[in-house]
């Protein structure tokens, strides 16, 4: 009951809890865990009872053992760090460029007419198709991976920022004009706060694609990184390692997504939209 009482007191609730959706508390979390836990337990029992040898679909105990081994010899943390650095650099480049060009295209119709058709054309290219070119241009090592991730991040951020700037309420902009704001002051005091919620969403969408593309980048050739564990697991026929890598990606993806949400939450407390007060991140 104390959990519910706390969710009533919206302003006093710490923003980070709202951002990660902890408001309805442990109860909801456990409900969400029920199906995966039940499936895992059932499979574990099935393998234990000899109904399957679990070679291609490893039971949870073998995945844990795999984790323990990877963790124990320090491999797991090394691979995670390598992958995180790749995503961070690729995301930084892609989100930076997407923000800049998206803001320019949204703010000035001339810029939009100039660059938007080209970018929309490039967007139509499935991003994986760039891989051979990037490898030829940038080599097979890190730079081409950064570039691929950046391309993946760029488009959702660009589109999100441009759309957000274009859809800022004209009436709110007029308030700015009535107070004689123009140029930079208008951007800082009206446009920037107005686009912030949509911008955070765009960044989160971009980050999701960044994680997708880091897998592709590492899959196309890498000697380390969580994606490399996938290849290794495939080549040495170790499904437990593949599943461990998959789970690692899931956890990393969710954690970094929550990180953005948490950082943004204090700036978005004012939001008045469906979902903004339901603790849904």
């Amino acid at each position: 009951m104390s959990v519910e009482a706390e969710s009533q007191a919206v302003p006093s609730r710490p923003a980070w809890r709202r951002a990660i959706g902890a408001s309805a508390g442990v109860q909801r979390f456990l409900v969400g865990l029920a199906i995966p836990l039940a499936l895992a337990a059932a499979w574990e029992i099935a393998v234990f009872a000899g109904l399957s040898d679990g070679r291609l679909v490893p039971p949870p105990s073998r995945i844990f053992a795999e984790y323990a081994e990877l963790w124990g010899n320090g491999d797991l943390i090394r691979h995670i760090l390598v992958t995180l650095v790749r995503v961070a650099i690729g995301f930084g480049l892609g989100a930076g460029a997407g923000t800049l060009l998206g803001a320019l295209a949204g703010y000035s119709s001339l810029t939009r007419r100039l660059i938007d058709p080209t970018l929309q054309g490039l967007r139509a290219v499935p991003s994986m198709a760039w891989i051979p070119l990037f490898v030829l241009w940038l080599g097979i090592f890190e730079t081409s991976k950064y570039a691929l991730i950046a391309v993946g991040v760029f488009f959702p951020v660009y589109l999100g920022v441009m759309g957000a700037v274009l859809s800022v309420d004209r009436k709110i902009v007029e308030v700015g004009r009535a107070f004689r704001l123009s140029g930079f002051a208008m951007i800082r005091r009206i446009l920037l706060p107005a686009v912030l919620p949509a911008y955070v969403l765009a960044l989160r969408a971009g980050l999701g694609l960044g994680w997708m593309f880091v897998v592709a980048a590492e899959y196309m050739g890498a000697s380390e990184g969580v994606g490399y564990l996938l290849i290794e697991g495939q080549q040495f026929s170790k499904p437990a390692e593949i599943v461990a890598a998959i789970l690692t990606f899931a956890v990393l993806g969710k954690l970094t997504d929550v990180l953005i949400a948490v950082i943004a939450a204090p700036f978005l407390r004012w939001e008045d939209a469906f979902g903004a007060h339901q603790g849904g991140a």
Binding site: K171, V175, R177, A178, R189, I190, P193, L196, W270
Partner: protein, 263 residues
């Protein structure tokens, strides 16, 4: 003094929204502008505010031409248009950016007191009712102490009780600083409660049709015979502006129908 000289506005699609509008408003005077829809009331207000420019004619404030938003001219829109990411106090102080903090806070607080929302200073706009939000919008416009305040149907979205309440609030705040008020309204009662002068406009093209001076003492009693008489004069003028047959002579019977129908 606010002076409009032969102001006209033709939109790019050829619509003449406003034509040859001439009016001078004395400092501290309250002018209400009424008229049927499409008579150019809002166009007029936007030209005075500097948000839009007139096609012909000039708007001047104390001799200074107004072609862009001016610090001495404030505006309250039909909707509160509060900035949702600022607290109520932040919204009220929006026009005081760059002021020393103590002075700014003092003014904001005083203005919020004046509209009866001192206890709401720290809440978000989303937590306000429609009437409260519009009071914040009024406070935001008054806090910079404009010489002229324009109000574009400011209370039209509110229920009758809230509207009467806000009209009183508006007169209270006006009494402090005595700025010139130009208020566009659909509501004849509102015009009569507030204004020293009611301007009736006529549509296609929008132009000044009739001026009616309201010489009633404030606070005005909405039930008094004098109020009723003034109301009939305005309604009759509105009927004539819309080419209804009612004249001021037989207004007695016809305006009741007109009153219900003129907008």
């Amino acid at each position: 003094m606010l002076a409009l000289q032969n102001v006209g506005k033709t939109y790019p699609n050829g619509v003449r929204a406003l034509d040859g509008f001439t009016l001078t408003v004395a400092p501290g005077e309250i002018v209400a502008i009424v008229g049927g829809s499409g008579c150019g009331k809002s166009t007029l207000l936007r030209a005075v505010s500097g948000l839009d420019r007139s096609s012909v004619g000039t708007v001047t404030l104390d001799g200074e031409p107004i072609t862009a938003p001016h610090e001495k001219i404030g505006i309250v829109f039909q909707e509160p248009r509060l900035l949702p990411w600022l607290s109520v106090a932040g919204n009220v102080g929006f026009g005081l950016e760059g002021w020393p903090k103590p002075e700014r806070n003092g003014r904001v607080k005083a203005q919020l007191d004046r509209v009866g929302l001192a206890d709401k200073a720290t809440v978000w706009p989303r937590e306000l009712s429609g009437g409260q939000a519009q009071r914040v919008a009024i406070a935001r416009a008054f806090v910079t102490r404009p010489e002229v305040l324009l109000l574009d149907e400011p209370f039209s979205a509110l229920d009758a009780f809230t509207r009467a309440d806000l009209q009183d609030h508006l007169l209270d705040v006006w009494a402090d600083q005595k700025p010139t008020l130009v208020i566009v309204t659909h509501d004849v009662d509102e015009a009569l409660v507030l204004a020293d002068r009611v301007i009736v406009m006529r549509a296609r093209p929008g132009r000044l049709y009739e001026e009616i001076a309201i010489e009633l003492d404030r606070p005005r009693d909405r039930q008094s015979a004098a109020f009723d008489f003034a109301k009939r004069r305005v309604l009759a003028a509105l009927d004539r502006s819309l080419d209804r047959r009612a004249t001021s002579d037989d207004a007695e019977t016809k305006t009741s129908a007109g009153a219900a129908l003129w907008w």
